[in-house]
Structure formats: structure tokens, C-alpha cells
Symmetry: C2
Subunit: 143 residues, 2 copies
DNA sequence: TATTATTGCATAGCTTGCTATTCAAGTGTA
DNA sequence: TACACTTGAATAGCAAGCTATGCAATAATA
């Protein structure tokens, strides 16, 4: 029995993810943000003044991971936290001006990375690839 | 302008990779190994008694990452290192009996994870999916 | 109302990845 | 042969992910 890593979905998925992350990292480094902050920023650009719990519901990472990322974002001046009048355990998370201003450049970086990475696929192939990924994700999650 | 993460290849790729890793982690934990050791073991099962440099040429991680993984594997009794008569800077890396014995179970775990994860795709879709991933990987690497 | 259970976050400690740097051993050359 | 260059690994230090645990505030209940 043999195991060929190039025929292992998990191996390819992991490899691909590291390449994507590295690429995005290079693109957004000049903006002063890092890859792990990206999903958080995406949500906060849509709506800030929310609790950690709200954010958590929209981002698929563990609570502890999010808490640590938020700490680094506060340290880096990307977010601020204020008291939550409704619940003293939670705080409200707000973007700083600085972070708010990065939105369009960040969107653009991400889109550049995505389209560059997928340029080896034709348009219909890209759509199919995305569809496969969404199916695989929800398949694993619901198993 | 808006950015929908479900339409972002990078987002999906990252998410999918974390799900795969978590799944594999659960499957191989009983064997006493962890996901980062998997690629190293795969190579060493094919051929051990090699240098770190040899391994590095076959695994797509940075040298420092591999060095750290090897240290943990030595700590965990999965590998041993012996002097390299040909070059005093390098050492030869050998699997322990324990690690050698894990091979078939580990292959099986990985294959189970892969086929479970891809079960939402039909056979031709799976092949296409793998093909897309290989193309995307080599596209990014060569850009 | 006092106690218990739940909930929202924080913290500890680990792995896996990265970049950058250091260092000793080997190689090549003036 | 001495000096500089290169190369194989190790180390430092950080990010981002995880599990497990702790803790204070809130909610539910006896």
C-alpha cells in the first residue's frame, strides 16, 4: 500500500491554503494588517459596535482565537472597545478611523490575490471550483 | 463596493484547510501523532536515513518550520538522529520502530478523512477538484 | 432571596507556520 | 595555506490556530 501526497485532498488543501495566506500577507503588509485580522475586519467593515459574541457568530474560528486576534488588533490601533450598557461581561468593538480607512485597499488586495491565484482556471472552472469548496466545507461541517 | 467572503477563494480555501486539519487531527490523535508531523512521516516512510535538507526538498515548508517539527518528533520518540559521516553539519534522520509501525494506520486515517470530506462530490467531480487544486498550487508557485 | 447554572471573555499552554539571524562546517580561491 | 564564501541547521520571535480552564456577570430556579 502506498500513499501519494499529490493525490491526497487534505495535503493539497493545506498546501494551497498556505500559498494563499502567504500571498495575501505580502499584499496587505503595506496596509499594516495581517491575515488573521482580515476576517474580523471584513465583518467590522460591514457593521461595528458589536460584541465579541456577535463577531464570533459570523467568523468560523474558536472563541479563544478571536479573543487573541482582537487583542492584537487593539494593540495595533485597529479597534477600540467600549462598555456595553446592556451587559457588563461584554464590550462593544469599534473600528478606529485608521482601520475604517483601509477598507477599499484591503478589498482590492484580496481580490487581486484571488484572481491571480485562479487565473490558471477558466471562468466556468472558477465557478465550479468555488462551488466544490463550498460543498466540501458544508459537508465536513455537517458530518 | 462590497466583499462577500463566501465568494472569496482565499476565504474558502483557508476555511476548508482548517476543517481538514481538525478532522485529521481527531483521527490521528490516537496514534500519538499530530498533523504537522504527517508530511514528514510520509516522506520518512518512503525513505529514512536522510538529512534535513533531503527532507526539505520534498516538503513544501520553510527550513525553520521543518527543524522545529523534527525537534518535536524527536522529543516524542518518532525519530532518531545519527551522525552523517559525509558532513558534520548534517545529521541523518531515522524513524523509530514506533513511528515505522504507525504507517498503515496513518495511511488509513488520512484516506478516511479524504474520502469522507469529498463524499459530497461525485467521482468525476472529485477528480476535477483535485486537478483544479494542483493547477492553482502550481499557478501560485510559479507566479 | 439564595443558590445554581449559564454565558461572555480571558488566559494558559500547545502546535504549526512564517521571517530573520546566527553559527559551525565545508568549499573555493588569491 | 589563509581568507572569504556558501551551506546545513538551529534559534529567536512572532502570528494564528487549537483545547482546556478559569472567572465574573447574568439568568434561572428551589
Amino acid at each position: 500500500m502506498d500513499f501519494e501526497k499529490e493525490n491526497s485532498a487534505g495535503y493539497l488543501v493545506n498546501h494551497m491554503a498556505r500559498l494563499f495566506a502567504k500571498e495575501l500577507q505580502h499584499h496587505i503588509a503595506p496596509l499594516g494588517i495581517v491575515v488573521g485580522q482580515f476576517p474580523v475586519l471584513l465583518e467590522l467593515w460591514l457593521k461595528d459596535g458589536v460584541t465579541q459574541k456577535d463577531l464570533l457568530a459570523r467568523i468560523d474560528v474558536e472563541q479563544a482565537t478571536l479573543a487573541n486576534t482582537l487583542n492584537r488588533m487593539e494593540r495595533d490601533g485597529l479597534i477600540k472597545r467600549t462598555k456595553n450598557p446592556a451587559d457588563a461581561r461584554a464590550q462593544l468593538i469599534w473600528l478606529t478611523e485608521k482601520a475604517a480607512a483601509l477598507r477599499n485597499s484591503a478589498y482590492e488586495s484580496a481580490q487581486n490575490v484571488n484572481s491571480q491565484a485562479l487565473q490558471v482556471l477558466t471562468e466556468p472552472e472558477r465557478a465550479q471550483f468555488m462551488d466544490y469548496m463550498r460543498r466540501v466545507i458544508s459537508g465536513i461541517r455537517s458530518s
